[in-house]
Symmetry: D2
Subunit: 319 residues, 4 copies
């Protein structure tokens, strides 16, 4: 294990740069060479690979996005594409690859390992929807971006005494919506992991209103449908006009929080250490504040679990 | 002039609280009593009026929204409603009213002056669309909120090498879109005050693309139509998929910037001074960094002008 | 257990308001009455106690500081003062007290329990120096405040190619310094838990300089001495001028991060639940992302431990 | 005028990068070549000069500091150094130089013009202490950084009911202190342009205290002496303990505000336009929201003026 490579893949997440930086610096610490693969698997196939040094990762720990870029690759989904990828890695005499991304990116990494090429995955996605890890890189930043946005919307919700419905990202996971709802003191949170019933939502609005509360914030996880559809249902049931905001792509960007930079630094370094120890086909994870690792097969067969006691807590605090 | 009142009306804007605070403290400085009218003209009609003291405005200078609330009032559009408003003011022995809001709010204030009740308007709106004043309270904060959002979206636009179309507020005015576009280095800005042509927009995208620029940010003022419609036109012309974000209500909230707090403090205090000098039916404004004032009639007949040299500058810098 | 009370004590920490809010709302959820004790133990002795309702904690979840205020109390250190405190609680027919603060505040709570009055502690301090809990309320916010400040200083350090020494809070604990140093990519971190040697620090500066690195950031935990004294030592050893910044009281304030609001919400609610279950003389804690609780005696005899593997990681990444 | 160059000099200020970007892009718009001089006048003497293209200034508009670096140069103070600088410019066939910095940097530019080399100055300094311009690049950002810091300190000042004295930058100018004091609602502002008297300061503290105000924020411009010396004087007069914070180097960094990016974009472009028009030995300025320009001699003989009506306003609002 003398020459490593690192790529970012899938949706970008704040902290990916910090993870790349940690991998590069940890490799240098161990006296290894390390290469950056640009534009994800697509760039890997095309051989868009350059050596990285300490200078390559100067002044990036605090930057959002990924300086290695990310891209979709239809070709990599094919056997032929995967073969090309392995050939590129071999041609560059690379001994191990670190893939920073979500579960789709990990499945790609597995394909390479199946072809005999050692890979390690680092969970980077704002959605926090990867099994076996308590947190993914980018989740804490996206969460704070959402909470700050809701704080701003609350200013205007309070001033106008209206109900606002805010749609947040998370794919099929409700983590962003639930945590943001609790942290921002939202009156109602709608997530895929818990049943929701429009009558219950309306009842909560009425209960608040009867206690003199004239504004209300409802958070909808994108996995439950659009905020607009909930606005329509509320209007139908109550006649009330609500305001809808879809937070959109601001949730992906921004300078990573301290937590995400820490997590990325620990995970990026751990990925290098694992390759050095001769491990492969594994993902790095954090459990109980400790960096651990799991076999891809084992991990990806599981489901990411949301702690539903948080949901119950949020409901009890937003009476 | 012994007893004044202040209300906020129309869409809320960051800095309204700083303006209310300045009016209350300036009144206290002059030894006057001052009352807060809650919920705008609607509250005025209902007599929702309470005396304010130094303590009433403690710890609000940095808060978004308006602690006096704001509301629409259909009744105030009627002669009878306006009459009730004057009666409430007289009943509370109030000698002059300060109205913080946009042009609609100023027209309401004029109605009261026509009925013999002295009013002074303070321009508070994020849209910067009031004639005769270089800036309105809330514009600078909304502008920075938009620019920070675009900075975040640029992280992800750069990482994915895609084109993002971002729709910003401003009603019929392009100030927010133009200033934000220049400040955020957007490739294209679409505003009501300048002709826009989908072919020109597409040409700029192609020009950037041919120079190797793979991502692009387009800002659309809401007065020009929806970001989604521009996305459709671009797709039709080029086949390119773009991503759309409508920034929405986050633009109204947030802690006011230093500039907005300054402006609000100067304007709120000036409104009290004008009433003390026996002036009425006038709006406070800032021109060339100086606080000035204009007759409502004179001001509201004019059009807010955008400095189009800024537009030309933005185009020249985003080649 | 029908009537509870809550107070904040010691240095304020962002998230204390979120904890108070959670306690009040959780009490309401359980149908209990709850009272706020203002100005810490000093207010308790003086009977500065008022009933709190859902409305008392509206719009405070995102505010820094503590709306219950905090104060030192010499009198409470005396037997007589503690007796008065218990009398006030009894007079108000309060059945249990929640104390949000640091270890000194917990020792105060113990005194009350020794006198037969049930208390529960909630760890609120930016220093993260309480045993048995992975995190304290306020730590994550202070950490992000520090990291944002270092990011700003790095701008100027890079532009001027100078070395900056930044002194951060933490009392005897190095958590803030270490985590901030790792998250901000500082070249050197000086903490009480690890030996530091001026020769090693100077060697690292020289090593960076010889690799072409002309600026450097050194973080000093206040428990290791002043930044100024390190600047003097470096000057003596190398002749280099460095710049010193003592971050100071900005580290205590600011709107709490999502993480701190979550933690505070969970802990504040858990404190109410514990009292309801008849528990007392215990502190709430978070371990491995789960809310747990410990006997005060047991907890306060232990030492807060810093994970020194993080220190080693930081050193390996800042070569 | 075919080949221009640009350098940054003196203390760095947020927005310098936006000004460099605007100069480079405006030059490209006009079909000119433009070169970056690295490390200020020191780099100029050493010939540290590289051609810049559109790509050189990609993704820098929002970055603090200066990517051209800045440095002190003792050699440039000498006749010989200035001669070398002109030789380097001639050797690189450069026709005009844009200098972004403060008054010291402008005096350097004048020296070059005296030797026959055309220069244009762009005012970049957080201190806002340049004559003839209403604002300098960086002032608005530094002001917002200070105001956000005071907002944080106010959280803790309010919670602990103590008086905090905060020292801010500005060299001999009180602009940062005064504007920040007004925008943050400080109780007292001490600036070089207005007399201050410790008895008056103490009287204001007592007046607030007697009205029930238990915390107070005092802002001291660095040009008036250290915050610590005021703390000593207050202690001597009243026996009160106050807390001191010196904001320090965080004031120089951070992503520029929208206002500073606008100002920098307008000024950087204007500098190119002036050189193209054959002008030299002049500084760009903003007056009444319009970009204008002045002869260096004329400008630097004047004094920067602070609008003292703002000081009176601040005092009237902080009764």
């Amino acid at each position: 294990m003398k020459r490593l490579a690192v790529l970012t893949s899938g949706g970008d997440a704040p902290g990916m740069n910090a993870a790349v930086r940690a991998a590069v610096r940890r490799a240098a610490f161990h006296g290894l060479q390390i290469f950056g693969v640009y534009h994800g698997y697509d760039g890997l196939i095309r051989g868009d690979i350059k050596e990285m040094t300490l200078g390559s990762v100067g002044d990036i720990i605090h930057r959002g996005g990924t300086t290695l870029y990310t891209a979709r690759s239809e070709e990599f989904r094919t056997e032929a594409g995967q073969q090309k990828a392995v050939e590129q890695l071999n041609q560059h005499e690379i001994d191990g690859l670190i893939v920073i991304g979500g579960d789709g990116s990990f499945r790609g990494a597995q394909k390479l390992t199946e072809k005999g090429f050692p890979t390690i995955g680092v969970p980077g996605t704002i959605d926090n929807d990867i099994p076996c890890t308590d947190f993914t890189i980018g989740f804490d930043t996206a969460l704070n971006t959402i909470v700050e946005a809701i704080d701003k919307i609350r200013d205007t919700a309070t001033s106008h005494e209206r109900t606002y419905i805010i749609e947040v990202m998370g794919r099929d996971a409700g983590d962003l919506a639930l945590w943001a709802g609790l942290a921002a003191g939202a009156e109602t949170v709608i997530i895929p992991e818990a049943d929701h019933d429009i009558n219950d939502i309306v009842e909560r609005l009425h209960a608040g209103s009867s206690r003199g509360k004239k504004h209300s914030i409802i958070i909808v996880a994108e996995g439950c449908g659009s905020a607009a559809s909930f606005a329509d249902q509320i209007k139908e049931k109550t006649g009330w006009e609500t305001r809808v905001t879809v937070l959109g792509h601001i949730q992906r960007g921004g300078s990573p929080t301290a937590f995400d930079r820490m997590l990325a630094s620990r995970m990026g370094a751990a990925a290098v250490d694992l390759l050095l120890e001769g491990k492969k086909d594994r993902m790095v994870a954090i459990q109980n504040n400790q960096i651990v690792d799991f076999d891809f097969n084992e991990a990806l067969q599981q489901r990411h679990e949301l702690d539903l006691s948080i949901y119950d807590l949020a409901r009890s605090l937003s009476i």
